[in-house]
């Protein structure tokens, strides 16, 4: 099938195309140099922005945790109901939409690739079942490995290569994409009712520190040549003064970077950039973090911007979620996933009038604007922790327009307003930068060579937004931009037109990408390992892996490891 997106104003940062009027030709799901104009289906994009399909590096869309969140919050769903139409299945929305609705809503905003960032390996099957049911987008998921007993044991014994083989087995058997580390060591400590206080605190029974876990897995990541870096949710998340921990985490792997390739991704950095002694004195640590990131090339970040709304927070960071429950007294879930990780869920309402929430709002945007290189910071809300992904257009407006930021600043807590750095920041992202923070940069950080750009050979994932960059001044007309990015004029997924004027035209399946890590020597299954599985897990070793036929549309990515 051939398709021609005609006369659009193209922003394709990977190929250095900045607002050029050109045609994009598509054939058999890939972007090609040209197609026959007579035969191809034509999309008139004149006066519209054409970008690669959006890529979301961190969004909790599937898995047991997300599903518990859905069960916990009937009141979140009942005001946002999606009726069945000829093209769409019914579902519910708001902060934790049902799987099908998640897919539709991403596609309606022009997003075509979404990464589900936290999958307890034991819940891999559940996660993949939900990902199978998330249409319209390509997806992948990161297994949580930072507190896995095997990882901790191997690191304690200094067996990095053996650990690498183990992680390779894990990545392939859970059909994962990257190494996710959440509060390294803290979740294991939480099993005993405590948390690690800092980056050099010891994890009970294992005698290793979060620093060793991060460094160890970073080494493993480079030994395995995984496309993405380690994906780190720092220690002390959501605690005043934690920007120091964040800086320490980034510094700890400074020596592991080679050339300009990043080696660590600090996710939802906003939650890790608090300065101050306690909640009363809490302020933004964005300047320090931005200062560090500007001077180093081994790190990428994503914002984790908060939205002033009611949402559901959910992370694998059990101790953090418990402290959040203690703060707001709302209903809560806390869960221990055997020897792997923990999880917690607490509904949370971010309020403009709250000093802390207002500072958080400011931190996210300060990070995005103070980090000069857009290829290092990406736009996320850590859906649904900072706010649902459907609020991305709001953030886009704040990023491209100082006026939009000022309009919100006027309405936030006055003490937070007076301390915010935002009034002193004049930077406004151009559409080119916007394409970097919402798709190109994310795809590059993920090592997805076929996504996030519109060069020949790339996947034909295209988003067209009905705003004319030559006539619209985003700084003043930010509402026009926001509306345009809320409902894509056209979304093309895998060469097929799936959304027109923000309405889903047809449901398509997305691929589940996973890494087939090829190591020279497979992990040895010793009697001891098997015994451990029998003793410590509820699932036997043989039943642990997710078979490939479990994935509806499987897309294995072969990776040649150096071990």
């Amino acid at each position: 099938m051939e398709l021609l997106v005609k006369n659009g104003v193209v922003f394709d940062p990977v190929n250095k195309i900045n607002g050029e009027q050109m045609d994009i030709a598509v054939k058999d799901g890939k972007i090609v140099a040209s197609v026959s104009e007579r035969r191809a289906r034509k999309i008139d994009a004149s006066g519209m922005i054409v970008m690669p399909g959006g890529v979301d590096i961190h969004s909790h869309i599937a898995g047991s945790e997300v599903n518990s969140g859905r069960l916990l919050r009937p009141e979140d769903h009942f005001k946002d109901v999606e009726y069945k139409t000829l093209t769409k299945r019914s579902g519910v929305g708001h902060s934790i939409p049902s799987t099908f609705t998640t897919g539709y809503r991403y596609a309606q905003m022009g997003y075509t690739t979404v990464m589900n960032p936290s999958m307890p390996p034991l819940e891999a099957k559940h996660t993949h079942e939900e990902l199978n049911d998330t249409p319209m987008v390509d997806k992948a998921t990161y297994p949580l490995l930072g507190d896995w007993w095997f990882v901790l044991e191997h690191l304690r014994d200094g067996k990095v290569e053996e650990l690498a083989r183990h992680v390779a087995w894990m990545m392939t058997s859970t059909k994962g994409y990257a190494i996710k580390i959440v509060n390294p060591g803290g979740l294991e400590t939480w099993g005993f009712g405590h948390n690690v206080g800092g980056f050099d605190d010891q994890v009970p029974n294992f005698c290793i520190t979060p620093r060793e876990i991060v460094r160890g897995l970073c080494k493993v990541n480079s030994l395995l040549n995984l496309p993405h870096t380690i994906h780190v949710h720092t220690n002390n998340l959501g605690k005043p003064g934690n920007f120091q921990t964040c800086l320490e985490t980034m510094r700890s792997v400074e020596d592991m970077g080679s050339e300009d390739k990043p080696v660590v991704h600090i996710t939802h950095c906003q939650f890790s950039a608090f300065k101050g002694e306690d909640w009363r004195t809490m302020e933004s640590g964005a300047e320090e973090i931005a200062g560090y990131v500007n001077g180093h090339s081994h790190v990428t970040l994503d914002m984790g911007q908060i939205i002033f709304a009611d949402t559901t927070t959910m992370t694998a960071d059990g101790p953090f979620q418990y402290s959040l429950y203690e703060l707001n007294g709302n209903k809560w879930v806390n869960h221990d996933v055997e020897t792997e990780t923990s999880a917690g869920i607490v509904p949370f309402h971010y309020r403009r009038k709250s000093y802390v929430n207002s500072v958080q709002w400011s931190i996210g945007l300060e990070l995005a604007l103070l980090i000069r290189d857009s290829w290092k910071i990406f736009m996320t809300t850590d859906h649904p922790n900072g706010g649902p992904f459907t609020s991305y257009p709001k953030i886009i407006a704040w990023l491209v327009s100082k006026k939009a930021r000022e309009a919100t600043l006027k309405r936030i807590n006055p003490r937070a307003r007076s301390r915010s750095l935002l009034p002193s920041i004049d930077r406004e992202l151009s559409f080119y930068d916007l394409a970097v923070v919402t798709r190109a940069g994310q795809a590059k950080a993920l090592g997805l060579s076929d996504k996030g750009h519109l060069g020949v050979g790339a996947d034909a994932d295209i988003a067209v937004y009905n705003v004319n960059p030559n006539e619209t001044d985003p700084s003043r007309e930010y509402m026009t931009v926001r509306r345009a990015f809320k409902r894509a004029a056209y979304t093309v997924k895998g060469g097929r037109l799936v959304v027109r004027d923000g309405e889903v035209l047809k449901e398509v399946k997305g691929e589940t990408m996973w890494l087939n890590v090829q190591v020279s020597e497979q992990m040895k299954m010793t009697d001891e390992t098997e015994k451990k599985f029998r003793e410590y897990w509820t699932v036997e070793y043989e039943n642990y892996p997710v078979p490939e036929n479990y994935l509806e549309v499987s897309h294995p990515i072969a990776v040649k490891a150096s071990v």
């Binding site: 916990l72 919050r73 009937p74 009141e75 979140d76 009942f78 709302n330 209903k331």
Partner: protein, 274 residues
């Protein structure tokens, strides 16, 4: 005044969200007949289910009065989200009556199903009959209950009346089921008759006055004093004497539970803790 007469005994649930004075306002009878609602899984018009008549003799300036004559116990969401006007139901009404009401008045001369006045913000509901469970309670999972307004019930109410209530008054002249005032954060609940127990579970603030018999209540309430009378509203109070209990201690609550001394002689043991 607009009169609605059900054309039949409803067999399937009808979602009558549009049966509301705000929707009917400034509409002719013909337009009202064309309003759509769901009966079971079929979309119908009001005209298919009700006979609609306009009574021009009764002129109320700017206020729409809607009268339903007959049994509408299968019709849900009557007066949902209404802001102004009045509804009078001469018969039984269904679930979700006056959900999220913001103003106006609903009078029912009959029984009402569950969730009546759920999440209401203002206005008043008067029910001359019995009411199902969850009177004035929030939607499942939510903690935002009644935030204002007034509900008066002349019959009995089911369980969880006034759950998560923050402001407003609920007066029940009959009996109340279990868990009256569950997770209450403010406002007043008055039960003239007996109460089944567990009243005020997890309450943080607010006031529950029980004029009748209570077999027992939660051990997480402590006796505070004995008072001669209890205030329901600004200009209304009931004569006692009442035992006053404070709780719920598990939630660090400071809610007040007034229980009639006369009707509950078995609670006299508590007096020794005073």
């Amino acid at each position: 005044m607009i009169n609605l007469y059900p054309l039949k005994e409803f067999r399937y649930p009808v979602v009558g969200e549009c049966v509301c004075p705000d929707t009917f306002q400034a509409k002719t009878c013909g337009e009202i007949r064309d309003l759509r609602l769901w009966e079971g899984n079929r979309q119908k018009k009001i005209g298919d289910l009700f006979k609609v008549e306009e009574d021009k003799s009764d002129v109320n300036l700017g206020k729409t009065i809607l009268k339903i004559h007959g049994n509408v116990s299968k019709v849900r969401e009557i007066g949902a989200r209404m802001a102004d006007g009045e509804i009078i139901v001469n018969g039984n009404a269904g679930m979700h009556l006056g959900v999220e009401m913001k103003g106006g008045k609903i009078t029912v001369n009959g029984n009402v199903g569950g969730w009546a006045g759920s999440m209401m913000k203002a206005g008043s509901i008067e029910i001359h009959g019995n009411v199902g469970d969850y009177l004035g309670a929030p939607y499942r999972g939510s903690s935002k209950g009644m935030r204002g307004g007034r509900i008066v019930v002349y019959g009995d109410v089911g369980t969880e009346a006034g759950a998560c209530m923050k402001k407003g008054v609920i007066k029940v002249f009959g009996k109340a089921g279990q868990f009256a005032g569950l997770r209450m954060k403010g406002g007043t609940i008055y039960v003239e008759g007996d109460c089944e127990g567990r009243a005020g579970a997890c309450m943080v603030d607010g006031k529950i006055i029980i004029g009748g018999f209570v077999e027992s209540f939660l051990p997480t309430f402590t006796i505070d004093s004995v008072k001669g009378k209890a205030k329901i509203e600004e200009d209304e109070s009931v004569e006692g004497p009442f035992y006053v209990f404070l709780g719920d201690i598990v939630e660090n609550g400071k809610g007040k539970l007034y229980v009639s001394k006369q009707k509950n002689p078995h609670l006299s043991d508590y007096e020794k803790f005073l």
